[in-house]
Symmetry: C2
Subunit: 111 residues, 2 copies
Amino acid sequence: MTTESFARLPQPPYYAVIFSSRRRPGDLGYQQMAERMVALAAGQPGFLGIESARGEDSFGITVSYWASEAAIAAWRIHAEHRIAQESGKADWYAHYEVRIACVERAYGKRA
Amino acid sequence: MTTESFARLPQPPYYAVIFSSRRRPGDLGYQQMAERMVALAAGQPGFLGIESARGEDSFGITVSYWASEAAIAAWRIHAEHRIAQESGKADWYAHYEVRIACVERAYGKRA
């Protein structure tokens, strides 16, 4: 991904989709589709930002941030995203968990 | 860490602390303290689970899950955890962001 690691977010409240996953071995079109999905999500109404990390053990966490639950629901049923979700289930992920959460407070520190 | 990658969580609602960070170069006691903090957190009242991923670019996401906001508040001011937080600010992290969220829905799939 060419995006910055940290999302630049407004003050809470806003919503988070926490996507934890273990990749299967092999690319099978994953990298290209992942980049396409980030670019596509970034153009959706209510998209606020995304952060992602994956270790060498193939376990990763991606958190996308949204202005509302309606924005999350619309992205979930987006036609091209649904095709990616099907490949995710069939080819890319051995296991995934999705948690939808409302962010109530936030703070941070930059050196 | 010796823990399983995926947290085994109850049905929502519960709380999540999303900790995004970029590590500085060098260990400086980080790995040992990180493992100690996971073990210590796991013994706290209201702790539900933890998931963590860090890529080769030094950007990582750790999400810890808690039964209540009170449990998060108690962990935040835990004496030994506070010492670790100070080292985190001074030595380990170039940048971190913390978001506290209430998980409202969850679903997943295991192959």
